[in-house]
């Protein structure tokens, strides 16, 4: 194992930052932030995207050197100049995305993660050590299967075990439950809390989910625009107050009411759809679903059950192997003429990556749907820039896109503004079918509320909306019906009103 640092051992350390500040150019990412995490506690770090949570933990982990401020471990100031220092002091982090080697087994991953892994490994000896180690742990994972064959919950457990194996007693978790089912999330967070309360570890968790914070955490800190704006004991303040601290004075649009939408029969029908993933296996295998006009059907599921392949197949980014898509009872193929004829629009996740050309201007990006039609196109081939800019100016006004000009490259806009520019392009026309995938991923509260309201408005106007999301709360809030996708097909279908989270979670897990 690593050389025993002063703080290592079976004892939870306390951690404290004093006046931590960090600037990137003109941007003050962190301003004078002081937090206290007592030994053996489970601390929640709350804040919107860009509030400074990641910057703070990266300063603690040694990825960034803070401009100012101290880091105290067990009350003593410690210098952390790089991630190695943090590791030696017993501070470890679980990232949002897995850092395991998929082709290696759990045992191999654990041994390989050690800084002092020998050139020749005596597996018999290592196995014995691992077994003894696991006996002391509250949860186990299969040691001999390749990690790629483990479920997401087991992988997350292995990530945590890896830190404990390396004798890290202060764990930082960055949205650890985003890849888990609600059941797996509750199990893992519960185990971590119990370990913390037994004084074995101290945990700081970055989270967006108030439900988890209230159920498992002891204290919380709220950051906004790089500064600490609140904190205290969980339970002392209401969820509403916590949310208010996070948002500050930003205006959040009230969620649009669900009205009785004009129903005119099935609009989108997917029958027996098959599509392969990049490895050539059927990721979508026999998917059937009907979406009525004026209805939002939410597709829930643990990521990797074919949702992204389904959206890609519907939007022309992935070949359809077998099956039929009908819009208004007519055959639909994902080509440009059909998108226009059937009025099919889409809001993909991470719009900068999936729906824009980052190096093209805002006006050009807003013209993707219209550039080959009058008035932007003349004589069928000539591109007139002025009508394109006029259209963009109109959309920028109506959708409140903050951009210096129509000619700015869209990659220079903030995430929320890129999202609004894409919304403007896709929702400003007459929409019959809307395909939405994780529309709020990585956005701040105000943008999230805005986008959800717009999706609801389209439904109320009579559009058929297919909503694929990894955020179960989003699905529960917006959907008229909920379909759980597991193993490439619909495993469970239920009306949105009165849907049971536990039942949904069970079908998500594949039971």
């Amino acid at each position: 194992m690593t050389a025993p640092a002063p703080t290592a051992g079976m004892r939870a350390p306390s951690l404290e930052t004093i006046g931590m500040s960090k600037s990137f150019g003109a941007l003050r990412a962190l301003q004078d932030v002081s937090i206290q995490v007592p030994a053996g506690s489970f601390h929640a770090l709350l804040g919107e995207n860009g509030a400074g949570k990641s910057t703070l933990v990266k300063c603690i982990m040694g990825f960034y050197i803070p401009d100012k401020g101290q880091l105290l471990l067990d009350g003593t100031e410690v210098p952390v100049r790089n991630p190695k220092d943090a590791q030696a002091l017993g501070v470890g982090m679980v990232y949002q995305h897995f850092t395991l080697v998929p082709s290696l087994t759990a045992a191999e991953n654990l041994v390989a993660s050690r800084a002092d892994a020998p050139a020749v490994i005596n597996w018999r000896k290592e196995r014995d050590t691992l077994e003894t180690f696991l006996e002391r742990m509250p949860f186990r994972v299969p040691l001999d299967r390749p990690v790629s064959g483990l479920a997401a919950g087991e992988k997350q457990k292995l990530e945590i075990l890896k830190l404990l194996y390396l004798d890290q007693r202060f764990l930082i978790l960055d949205e650890p439950t985003s890849v888990l089912t609600p059941g797996e999330a509750d199990e893992i967070l519960g185990l971590l809390r119990d370990m913390a309360h037994r004084g074995e570890i101290t945990v700081a968790m970055i989270s967006h989910k108030f439900r988890e914070v209230e159920a498992f955490c002891d204290d919380f800190t709220v950051l906004r625009r790089g500064a600490r704006v609140g904190g205290g004991k969980v339970g002392a303040v209401s969820t509403r107050e916590m949310a208010a601290m996070m948002i500050g004075d930003a205006v959040v649009r009230p969620s649009a009411a669900r009205t009785v939408a004009p129903k005119s029969g099935t609009t989108l029908e997917i029958a027996g759809l098959f599509a392969e993933n990049d490895e050539g296996r059927d990721a979508v295998s026999g998917f059937d679903l009907k979406v009525q006009a004026g209805e939002i059907v939410g597709i829930a599921g643990v990521s990797g059950n074919g949702q992204s392949e389904l959206v890609e197949a519907l939007s022309g980014q992935r070949p359809i192997k077998l099956g039929q898509i009908l819009v208004h009872d007519q055959d639909f193929e994902p080509i440009r003429d059909h998108f226009d004829k059937f009025k099919i629009f889409g809001l993909p996740e991470e719009p900068l990556k999936n729906a824009t050309v980052p190096t093209m201007s805002v006006a050009e990006n807003m013209a993707f749907r219209r550039f080959d039609k009058s008035p932007i196109s003349r004589l069928g081939f000539w591109l007139s820039r002025e009508p394109m800019r006029a259209k963009a100016r109109d959309l920028i006004d109506r959708y409140n896109v903050k951009t210096p000009s129509t000619e700015t490259q869209i990659r220079d806009l903030s995430g929320g503004n890129v999202q609004r520019a894409v919304l403007a392009r896709e929702l400003s026309e007459d929409v019959d079918v809307l395909i939405v995938a994780n529309p709020c991923f990585g956005l701040d509260f105000a943008s999230v509320a805005d986008i959800r309201a717009q999706i609801m408005e389209q439904r109320n106007r009579g559009a058929a909306v297919l909503l694929v999301s990894e955020d179960l709360d989003e699905i529960l809030e917006l959907s008229d019906r909920i379909a759980v996708m597991s193993g490439g097909k619909v495993a469970y279908l239920t009306p949105g009103a009165g849907a049971d989270r536990t039942t949904i979670g069970r079908y998500m897990a594949g039971h």
């Binding site: 150019g25 003109a26 941007l27 860009g50 939007s315 022309g316 980014q317 994902p334 080509i335 440009r336 003429d337 059909h338 998108f339 889409g346 993909p348 990556k353 999936n354 729906a355 824009t356 050309v357 980052p358 190096t359 093209m360 050009e364 013209a367 993707f368 749907r369 550039f371 080959d372 196109s377 069928g380 081939f381 000539w382 591109l383 007139s384 820039r385 002025e386 009508p387 800019r389 006029a390 100016r393 903050k402 210096p404 000009s405 000619e407 700015t408 490259q409 220079d412 806009l413 903030s414 929320g416 503004n417 701040d444 105000a446 943008s447």
Partner: protein, 380 residues
């Protein structure tokens, strides 16, 4: 620029955007952003020149003398300048063969093969027509043959890329060697001119069928054609729906698919335009310089064109001055060889250095705060 828009928007089209502040911002941002695309390549050129100077000093030659001879051999006299323009013509055309696919996100380096096959096709179709059909008919047929064959040749690489996912850089390069081999097969075999004992060639097409020079100069028509084609392709890529769709496809393939754009046709189309340009270069080599097709067609213009396009950042209009610069370098090779006692491959050393330094400089974009508008990223 005049778009003939209705009166209301006509004002804006005339260059007066709606509000003055945004216009100023625009100009400032654009100037800063674009200056990066000038400063970094110029810096790369200077770096390469410095490295080459070290190379010259190492073999005991004077860099100053070298510059002097490049100037005299490439630009200094009316004769050398015309020679330079002459040599820049195939460079413009083969550079376009790299620049157009680059706009749709493909790095295609098969210009040399399309040039060779295009030139060969022009000669092959002309030989039976010589003396039978008048030049006024034969010349357009030769041009069409060269462009078509070139377009098909690079089009193959484009199709393989789209339909089978074959790496277009490798396939276009390998197709070049196949193309040269095909020409050699015919020129040394069934199409060999038996009356010419020296170099295996096709029969000459004869002076009457040559394309000739711009009156009063010794620059053949390939140069003005190349310049016009550069401008035309610039307009195609920036001001037409085809160019727009191609830029979307090149900028973000997934977004292009989600918009239902016909990406296959766009990719093959751009590859064919590229091949057509290189084929046209081959036509001019045959009909303005060589008068017949033989191994001299594979003179490396297609490869220098890659360098020209990269240095011009794949901008068709910028290709023109860059091609002239390299044309001068090529033109002065003979003088340098004679006067400085160095092999003419010396110029290739310089070209290679420029290419390596240029590719390395690609990593510098976005690293200098001076080129960035600090407040462009507005956080909300």
């Amino acid at each position: 620029m005049s778009s003939g828009a209705p009166a209301a928007s006509g004002l804006a089209a005339a260059g007066t955007p709606p509000s003055a502040p945004s216009a100023r911002y625009d100009l400032g941002v654009r100037l800063r952003a674009n200056s990066e695309y000038v400063a970094i390549p110029v810096f790369a050129l200077l770096m390469a020149a410095a490295l080459f100077a070290v190379f010259l000093l190492a073999i005991g030659k004077s860099p100053i003398e070298f510059v002097n001879y490049v100037w005299r051999g490439g630009f200094g006299t009316a004769f050398s300048l015309q020679n330079t323009l002459q040599r820049s013509s195939p460079l413009i055309l083969t550079a376009l063969a790299v620049a157009i696919p680059a706009r749709i996100g493909l790095i295609m380096i098969g210009g040399e093969g399309a040039l060779v096959l295009g030139g060969f096709a022009a000669a092959a179709i002309a030989v039976p027509m010589v003396g039978v059909v008048p030049p006024i008919v034969t010349i357009p047929v030769m041009v069409a043959a060269a462009v078509l064959v070139g377009a098909m040749w690079v089009g193959i690489a484009g199709y393989l890329r789209y339909a089978r996912g074959v790496n277009e850089t490798i396939s276009s390069l390998l197709l070049t060697y196949i193309g040269i081999a095909i020409m050699n097969f015919f020129v040394e075999g069934v199409m060999r001119d038996a009356s010419n004992p020296n170099k295996p060639s096709t029969k000459p097409i004869g002076d009457a069928y040559m394309v000739g020079y711009i009156p009063g100069t010794e620059v053949h028509w390939g140069f003005p054609v190349g310049v016009l084609l550069s401008v035309a392709l610039y307009i195609l890529m920036t001001r037409t729906t085809f160019g727009f769709a191609a830029r979307v496809t090149g900028g973000n393939f997934r977004a292009a698919l989600a918009q239902g754009l016909p990406v296959g046709r766009l990719i093959v189309g751009c590859a064919m335009i590229a091949g057509g340009c290189a084929g046209l270069a081959g036509y001019f080599e045959v009909a303005a310089i060589q008068g017949r097709a033989n191994a001299s067609l594979a003179a490396g213009y297609g490869f220098t064109g890659i360098l020209v396009s990269f240095l011009a950042r794949h901008n068709p209009v910028v290709i023109i001055p860059v091609a002239i610069m390299f044309g001068g370098l090529v033109a002065s090779g003979g003088l340098i060889q004679r006067r400085m006692g160095m092999p003419d491959a010396t110029v290739l050393v310089l070209q290679g250095l420029i290419f390596v330094v240029l590719l390395t400089s690609e990593t510098l974009y976005g690293r200098f705060a001076i080129f960035r508008a600090g407040d462009a990223k507005e956080r909300t």
